[in-house]
Symmetry: C2
Subunit: 396 residues, 2 copies
Amino acid sequence: MSQDQRTRSRRVILDHIRRAGRIARIDLARASGISQATVTTLTAEMLRQGLIEEVAEGEGKATRRGRPRVDLKLRGDAHLVAGVKIAGRSVSVVVLDFEGTQRAHHKVPLADLSRPPDALGWIVRQAVEAAAGKAGVRLSQLSGVGVGIAGFIDALAGLCHWSPSLDRRNVAFRDLLSRTLALPVFLDNDANLVAMAEQYFGAGRGVTNFVVVTVEAGVGMGIVLGNRLYRGTRGCGAEFGHTKVQLDGALCRCGQRGCLEAYVADYALMREAQILNGGRGVPTIDALLSLARSGDQMAGSILTRATRMFAMGLANIVNIFDPQLIIVAGEQLQSEHLQSDDMLELIRASIVEVDLAPPKVIRHTWDDLMWAQGAGAFALDGVLDLTLKAETDHVA
Amino acid sequence: MSQDQRTRSRRVILDHIRRAGRIARIDLARASGISQATVTTLTAEMLRQGLIEEVAEGEGKATRRGRPRVDLKLRGDAHLVAGVKIAGRSVSVVVLDFEGTQRAHHKVPLADLSRPPDALGWIVRQAVEAAAGKAGVRLSQLSGVGVGIAGFIDALAGLCHWSPSLDRRNVAFRDLLSRTLALPVFLDNDANLVAMAEQYFGAGRGVTNFVVVTVEAGVGMGIVLGNRLYRGTRGCGAEFGHTKVQLDGALCRCGQRGCLEAYVADYALMREAQILNGGRGVPTIDALLSLARSGDQMAGSILTRATRMFAMGLANIVNIFDPQLIIVAGEQLQSEHLQSDDMLELIRASIVEVDLAPPKVIRHTWDDLMWAQGAGAFALDGVLDLTLKAETDHVA
């Protein structure tokens, strides 16, 4: 077996153990297609290195053969990582162990929407330090930090082409954070990390092809194909919010016309709402929603168009990807009109008709900590790569 | 090495040889990540089985070490396959050898657009028999037949949900063809097979992520991600022609409103053209194009809208997939307005702006034989799987 193959096999084995939670060696060989002999050799190494550990199934319960069955699981203490979600008005951090169990969390508010990269770097460092402290460790005891941020992010290059949280374009933000924290940092678009959270901890577990659509101030998308996050060639795919739903349509914050966001994001709704109440407008999205609920025709019309445009956009995703599952995720109650029961019917009316059930569409309301968990899952993934790579370099 | 791993390694080796054309064992090991010892063992088996053969590079030219370098290549005679493209008014067939070299081709006209499955099956059989005859072999000497057909096709199940070439829905058309031809048959959507042709023989060679958009009577799409054709969960993805570009827009032949096809397909242009010439309309698409070229404002407006809608649809694909390359393929000169130089500018104006070059968009005009070649490539792929599987079953 070549060194490359060995590293790949170790990775496959660890991924299978992580997905299964607990698994016996024989099932591991069957599931991974790796021979039993190789599984035995490689897992023995991982046991020695403390990456995994043995657990007896069910307190001495015996299998048919009369011997207690021994399962393998990841060893939680092998690594601690932090996951960070940089939102518009806050930074949330979770500390996860190698099994993905949350050890601590911490959240700090942000006064301004955007700031210089250095300043944001120090805010992230302080937040991670505080979270690590709550978990009873020092910052330097973490093995890596995953960071999710809104905007156009090239995850492989660690480059932030544009983000609403930064005051400039084209920032090598991963390296900046890595220097500031003195730790390995993994940076990605926040919607990609939500997809990762759904895959590791949520509704996407065990689903091969799925799409997560996030609705916050903007509209994001994460795509999982063949169990892997799809990032596009330039790291700029999945820009669902900027797909065009109307030729020469409404003006978007990105400067183009007809983007889905320009019809469904908060600012788009507030823009339309300006002529409500005899030209006085409404103060908040909540006020707009209340007005619609109370039967105001114009307020209702604003939400109805947003809902229909959103359904049309989702139907296009179905027509292109044909995924098993679409997860509409968001933390804001104000997106409830985008998660209504009518939505499925509207989508169904716009997708290619075959005599098969359309993909499942589910809603998943969650908070910033879940986004941070996705960033943590991303960090676990990255730390695993680093561990395997270090070991390969050592052997080679 | 487990049997599964062995089959996978053989497959990887054959794929690398096919992609490289000719390759030395040492380069094969390097490119595939499979150890040199395993490459030597497995290629020795394949040589014995006649799947590959050795060729001396350049008539006795010596390498630095003084020995003539020996390359491996696929053995053309190992298998012959047929590739079939069922179009609206014709059936085209090519016979390819295992190296992908065309040995013969044949084309038969079709009087009607659609017919019963049995009847179409016999037409395909006769066309393949004629093509095999031209290649100097009997039908039964072919190892498999790849078939491309327009419509909603589930390639894995061999099911034709709907096709304009058949008079009914939900036909198990692959099995019907396989019985009629008494050969293994591989069935897919024709746009997917164009993507395969581009990957094996065309502009997609060596490109990891690309999208092919086909423009004929309808608009199709084939997606290659990570060097593999992406088919979606239900086999119904990549329905680019039925993505919606306008809420409650123009009526499409599929029964829904606002589909891209309803703005750019021939029927859509002819529908708009009805009021030209003082209500007399135009007899053909060619006449419409001539009229536009001669400066007729209304004819020009029809084509301009089609072009702009097409660009908007393509920009959405870029925003979602971020591919390296988009190939606009079509056999009809009448789609020239969709392949104009303005197109790239229009697309560029609608994609997410980052400081990186946008994906390359190229035009590729070809004929039915190229579609049939894609079907042939699909058959080669399928025959390879069957060969490896048969060998595995034999060993096991």
